[in-house]
């Protein structure tokens, strides 16, 4: 595929899917299995699932549910949430998850990034960086569903992670999450310029133009939630994905 990837990013809460605004107010979207099936038929490039409660509830990934998801999912699948050690990584690999998205554990246990990359290859290790602007306008890395500040600078952190062996950086803007107002292009640009591995932009996409903007700012792929699950001013839940020819036309 020549054009940059466009990735629906879906949030798991318990057994269901939700969509948040600025990492808060999760709105229920339904059964993940059927939504995966709809995305299959829409020939989506790739899918990412993030369990937003696993780490804060201090539990492992919901392997049972993930098994059901992977058995239904025809496209490459990334998963993040509650991955703590190599046991988790091995188990996820065995049920067909292709990419591991590490967030809190990358901050708290950087050695895991190296281990996972050695075991499964760098291309399988994605570092998710949740970024919020502080009161003074500086970018800061947050973990644990955006609740815990780390004091880290996202650009420096991304560079460190690349050195550790990460194969992809997933930059998610907490301030833009669910707003559908467009990505934080400045943030994407800074991270993309600092690393050589692919950067996936997330947080704020509302239409296909936004996706193209992220790529122009340096992202290799554009991820989004709201724009693929809501329709119209009332945010009615409806799964959608841009048509292939539309993406080809718009994406740089």
């Amino acid at each position: 595929m020549i054009r940059p990837r466009v990735i629906p990013c879906m949030l798991l809460k318990g057994e269901g899917l939700v969509k948040t605004v600025k990492f808060k107010d999760p709105k229920y979207l339904g059964d993940p299995i059927n939504i995966v099936r709809i995305f299959n038929d829409k020939e989506v490039d790739e899918l990412i699932f993030l369990d937003i409660l696993a780490t804060t509830e201090n539990r492992r990934p919901n392997f049972e549910l993930l098994k059901k998801i992977t058995s239904e999912c025809f496209m490459p699948l990334g998963y993040g949430g509650g991955i703590r050690d190599m046991d988790d990584v091995r188990q996820l690999l065995s049920i067909g998850v292709e990419k591991f998205v590490l967030n809190a554990s990358a901050v708290e246990n950087p050695a895991l990034v190296r281990l996972a990359a050695d075991h499964a290859g760098s291309q399988a290790v994605v570092i998710s960086i949740d970024v919020k602007k502080t009161l003074f306008g500086k970018y800061e890395v947050f973990t644990r569903a955006g609740k815990k500040g780390t004091g880290l600078d996202p650009v420096k952190f991304a560079v460190d992670m690349e050195k550790q062996g990460a194969g992809e950086i997933f930059v998610n803007s907490i301030d833009r999450d669910g707003t559908m107002q467009g990505y934080d292009l400045d943030l994407i640009k800074r991270v993309a310029e600092a690393v050589t591995v692919p950067v996936v932009a997330c947080g704020g996409a509302g239409n296909v133009q936004h996706l193209a903007e992220a790529v122009k700012a340096g992202a290799s792929a554009a991820a989004a939630g709201s724009m693929f699950v809501f329709q119209g001013p009332l945010r009615g839940v409806l799964i959608s994905y841009p048509a292939q020819d539309e993406l080809k036309r718009v994406m740089p």
């Binding site: 709809i38 059901k68 799964i239």
Partner: protein, 383 residues
């Protein structure tokens, strides 16, 4: 119920409906119902146009100062999409309401997306809690009645009613129409508005109480008959399904999904597999019968249509695997559901059983006897 096989001479309804009755010419009760309802409810041509024009003006007047004039349910299917097209053409401000019960096909959501975008209609979606709804669907399968689609049918009307109350919108425009939907035997599915029925099946076979399931209580149902108004708009135009589909394809980029109500995976599987396999009847029979009576198809054409499989057997197998997995059943469990002895609506507690049951009949008889006795006394006193 007769044990002998018989089929209507006009349509193709037969004794797979246990309550079917034939007149001296061999024409069934459903055909008579069709003719009666066509006279009572369907207005076509100039008269229909005028009636609808007046109604639309009234709806616009009543909608003043409110965000919407009317609600429409959307499923991605022909009828509901055509309703969206019509109300918009008449200058109404509709709100589209979709109930997502976890079984939408890609085609269904794509149809809704395209239609509403092109027509500029807002969408409200009510997503049923899947874990709860799953348990309810399994409960209905285990109850062994042919009414497994009742929870969905009930919930969409509950959602529409709740939203109409909340937004103070009076009109609910539906895609129900006499021409194509009159030949449905009661024994094939009943209890659509019977919350007690749904609750008791859930109590007997489900896991835990229904906490979030949208429903219509006994009195709410009757209150809404007074405060809301349902408009079956397709009864006031010269509705022809084939032509409607052509218009939708051309103007809205809508795509057909190959069978009545097949836009939902569960409905497709339920009507195309479970009903024929377990209960021995084919809903296409009733749908085609309606089409015969409204002149959209002929009896021989309908009969040969019925000889075809309900839908592609390979797809049936695929659906079966998916349904079993999604409902959290095992193959053995599903097999035993298919083989369990058949039950009906009347085997479970319901409002219907109270209203039509022996207790009320007993009271009714007492009342009648008392009335007759009084008449008799009055008569004797006169004499």
């Amino acid at each position: 119920m007769t044990s002998e096989y018989r089929i209507c001479t006009r349509c193709i309804m037969d004794t797979t409906d246990p309550d079917i009755v034939f007149d001296e010419n061999g024409v069934c009760n459903h055909c008579h119902d069709h003719d009666r309802l066509m006279k009572q409810k369907v207005v076509t041509g100039k008269a229909g146009e005028e009636y609808l024009q007046k109604l639309v003006e009234q709806m616009k007047r009543d909608g003043r100062g409110k965000p919407y004039d009317c609600l429409i349910g959307v499923s991605g299917g022909v009828d509901s999409t055509y309703v969206a097209f019509l109300v918009k053409k008449m200058g109404l401000r509709p709100l589209a309401v979709h109930m997502d019960n976890g079984w939408d096909s890609e085609l269904a959501v794509k149809n809704i997306e395209e239609t509403l975008k092109r027509l500029g209609i807002d969408l409200h979606t009510e997503v049923l809690d899947w874990e709860e709804f799953k348990s309810l669907q399994v409960a209905f399968l285990k109850s062994s009645t042919p009414d497994s689609e009742i929870p969905s049918d009930h919930a969409i009307w509950a959602v529409l009613g709740d939203l109409a109350d909340k937004l103070k919108v009076k009109y609910i425009v539906s895609g129900f129409n006499v021409r194509t939907e009159t030949h449905l035997p009661r024994a094939w599915s009943q209890g659509h508005f019977d919350w007690k029925y749904i609750r008791s099946v859930n109590q007997l076979f489900g896991r835990g109480k229904l906490k979030t399931f949208p429903h219509i209580g006994f009195f709410t149902y009757y209150r809404r008959l007074l405060t809301h108004r349902r408009v079956d708009i397709l009864n006031y135009i010269d509705f022809n399904k084939a032509e409607a589909m052509k218009i939708l394809e051309q103007e809205l980029g809508w795509r057909y999904y190959g069978g009545k109500h097949y836009e939902s995976i569960y409905t497709r599987f339920y009507q195309g597999y479970i009903l024929p396999v377990k209960f021995g009847y084919d809903k296409r029979r009733s749908h085609l019968s309606s089409l015969i009576c409204s002149g959209e198809t002929t009896r021989p054409a309908a009969l040969s249509e019925l000889d075809k499989p309900t839908y592609q057997p390979s797809m049936q197998e695929e659906d079966r695997e998916y349904v079993v997995k999604k409902l959290g059943l095992t193959d053995d469990e599903f097999e035993s559901i298919l083989n369990a002895s058949k039950k009906t609506f009347w085997d479970y507690p319901s409002y219907g059983r109270i209203i039509e049951g022996p207790a009320l009949k007993f009271l009714y008889n007492i009342g009648r006897n008392w009335y007759r006795a009084r008449q008799k006394r009055a008569h004797q006193a006169e004499a």
